[in-house]
């Protein structure tokens, strides 16, 4: 069972109170982008065994979208953070580095 603390209302929400929103920090490529950029934006997703960043929505709660950093293998949650950011905040990255010293994710390390 996955429990994520919603950074907007502070509720420790069990998974069934949340809606999964897929991979975090995707950059949209739309009109004017190359075919390859658009293809990657639409289809290419990370599927790591380990550190991962995701979007979640507190659907049966305050309704807000937020981000979560967790380990896909152990279900350990490193932290949750605001949706208003395009990359994982430093304190989350530091927390992960403490526990998984050589982690990488896309071009974040």
């Amino acid at each position: 069972m996955l429990i994520l603390e919603c950074p907007y209302c502070g509720v420790k929400a069990e998974e069934t109170e949340l809606a999964a929103g897929g991979e975090a920090h995707l950059k949209r490529f739309g009109p004017g982008s190359s075919d390859e950029e658009f293809h990657d934006y639409l289809f290419m997703r990370e599927n790591p065994k380990g550190v991962h960043f995701e979007r979640w929505r507190h659907a049966n709660g305050c309704g807000k979208w937020f981000h979560a950093a967790r380990c896909t293998m152990t279900l350990e949650v490193f932290g949750t953070y605001s949706a208003q950011t395009t990359e994982p905040p430093k304190e989350i990255q530091d927390k992960i580095s403490e526990k998984r010293p050589n982690w990488t994710w896309r071009d974040v390390k």
Binding site: E17, N60, C62
Partner: protein
């Protein structure tokens, strides 16, 4: 003119706890900047209660205010005056980035009381319902089996549950099944 009736029209069930339709309740959804002094004053004027802290409800003699999200409140007012209150709010919030809407007839409200009330909710909501974790004055939006719902606990130990009117019959039946007299678990 129409004769308004509440979602379950006064239905009652008695088992491990008492489940009852609360009757007509005026409810206003208010979205805006909860830190704004103008909004705080308008809320106080409409309900007699202050803007509550996150995850809480503040109650007054004639109404109350529940914290729904960082930019949303649920105002509780007598059903008869809800339209007038919405007009007053719109006037008081002129110039603010805010919106007040009467949702009274789009919701069902139930009262759940008695010794088994915590257990009845714990069976159907992913919420820690122990007395240490959920105290009077707390407000929680969550899932009640398959539907969204919210509830608060008053000072007399009764829970007040709000759900969408379209699922009010489901919620009433769900609460009644959860309060079945032969379904006691006895954890609280």
């Amino acid at each position: 003119m129409s004769d308004p009736v509440s979602a379950m029209n006064g239905a009652k069930f008695s088992g491990l706890a008492q489940v009852e339709d609360s009757g007509l309740q005026g409810m206003i959804t208010l979205r805006g900047d909860l830190a704004s002094d103008t909004l705080k004053a308008a809320v106080k004027a409409a309900t007699g209660a202050d803007v509550p802290a996150s995850g809480h409800v503040s109650l007054s003699a004639e109404g109350g205010v529940a914290w729904m999200s960082p930019d949303e409140l649920l105002l509780l007012v007598p059903y008869e005056v809800v339209d007038a209150k919405v007009v007053d709010l719109a006037e008081a919030l002129k110039g603010e980035h805010a919106l007040a809407v009467n949702v009274s007839d789009a919701r069902g409200v139930f009262r759940l009381s008695g010794d088994g009330a915590r257990e009845v909710l714990a069976k159907i909501c992913p919420v820690d319902m122990s007395a240490e974790a959920f105290k009077p004055g707390q407000f929680r939006r969550t899932r009640m089996a398959q539907v969204a719902a919210a509830f608060w606990l008053d000072d007399d130990g009764a829970f007040h549950i709000v759900c969408f009117r379209s699922v009010a019959a489901y919620v009433f039946n769900l609460l009644s099944v959860s309060a079945h007299p032969q379904s006691k678990v006895g954890v609280y």
